[in-house]
Amino acid sequence: MRFGRPRRESDPADDGFAADALEHLDSLYGTAVRLTRSPDAAQDLVQDTFLKALRARDGFTRGTNLKAWLYAILHNTWRNRRRDAGRSRVEFDSDTVEQAGDGAGLPAPISESPEALLLRATLDADLQAALDALPEAFREAVWLRDVDELTYQEIADVLDVPIGTVMSRISRGRRQLYERLTSRGKAQGT
């Protein structure tokens, strides 16, 4: 019984795409950890994302934002998984969440400077806790804008929502984050 020849070990089609994609590994993994809240599930999500990216690479336009493109695959994979798993996180797309920022009312007039707030949040754990407490839809929109510095259109593509929804989620997400940071600081008496 013969099973054919061994595969060649050469690397004929390496055009640098994989290396470029791996540049964003930490960002992808960090996003996956935020979404799955599990290091193991995050690794699995990143692996799926990477494999899909390699196979869909012809759909990537050189010169556009590779990180945003990879994020779109990762978020899409995550949405599919969550839907398939039957865990209905209703808050993600519902009007309830889009309106969630309204019920709490506008923040009280500012009593401390942004610099003071920044000092408060210097403890990574505090900032992390405040982020973790945000609804995912808000947190991801804000993160993509303020940390990853994606454009509104890129964020709309990643999250698969209209650009107006992106603006609204960023606005509400930032304000909720502010409220959580300030209330946390006050609660701790720092």
């Binding site: 019984m1 099973f3 054919g4 595969r7 923040p107 500012i110 707030l117 804008r145 509104y152």
Partner: protein, 250 residues
């Protein structure tokens, strides 16, 4: 302009991306509205904190992950020219459409679709040979694999043994995570090339096809479905392996 109409403009205003007209409108309104003034300040402060501190919260990816992904990339790069010979675009488009849009769970809902099944298993074959070595149970003896399947699934199956003289070796067994681990996965190598044998409960229509850069043959026997996945487009290799597995597994 009132608070409702200003609110959607605030984000771009804070980010310095509002056009001149929007910017003027926001500034006019905010100057006379303490509530929107507070909202704008809160947005600016939160944005500033995240810009300054957010990146520090990103955990470094585990070193093993980068290694596995690099191995996967090499494998994919080597597979691309072979794919091209039999229509890379068509195969990729159909396989990607099936797998990317359906996802693993939908397979369970449409378990009659052998094409979806084959696409999922072909993907899992690649993933677990190259990526997920941590859950492999190294297995040389078919008896060990049979005991594993008996213990895990309660199935009595004959696991095809290695044929060292012919370059066919049993390498490992594992629980395939697809569809909540309902499939047993046997990993072989044939002349060094990865070969997967999946064993699933129930009857699925017999099928063979090429999908996702892999050749797949599936058939049912004794109330179970066997799926053999071979890398690349070597149909001859697949036929030989499938024939051997079919004989041994009866």
């Amino acid at each position: 302009m009132n608070c409702r109409t200003i609110e959607p403009l605030l984000t771009a205003y804070i980010d310095g991306l509002a056009g001149p007209a929007d910017r003027a409108a926001v500034e006019l309104h905010v100057s006379g509205c303490p509530a929107c003034q507070a909202a704008a300040a809160a947005q600016r402060a939160a944005s500033g904190v995240l810009r300054a501190r957010g990146a520090a919260l990103v955990p470094a990816a585990p070193p093993g992950l980068a290694t596995r992904l690099a191995a996967l990339a090499r494998h994919e790069a080597a597979a691309r020219p072979a794919l091209g010979m039999w229509g890379r675009l068509g195969a990729l488009a159909s396989a990607a459409a099936v797998v990317l849009t359906l996802g693993a769970g939908l397979f369970v809902a449409t378990s009659q679709s052998t094409v979806v099944l084959a696409a999922q298993l072909a993907l899992d074959h690649v993933k677990c040979f190259l990526l997920d070595g941590h859950d492999h149970l190294p297995t040389k003896n078919p008896e060990d694999a049979e005991a594993f399947i008996q213990a895990r699934y309660g199935w009595t199956v004959d696991v095809p043994p290695s044929r060292p003289a012919e370059g066919f070796r049993l390498v490992a067994s594992r629980k395939c995570l697809l569809g909540d681990g309902f499939a047993a996965h046997l990993l072989y190598r044939a002349d060094g090339q990865p070969v997967s044998v999946f064993i699933l409960p129930g009857d699925h229509a017999a099928h063979d096809l090429r999908i996702f850069g892999a050749a797949v043959e599936a058939w049912s026997a004794n109330g179970r479905t066997y799926v053999v996945v071979v890398e690349g487009r070597n149909g001859n290799s697949l036929a030989r392996v499938a024939s051997y597995v079919r004989d041994e597994a009866q």
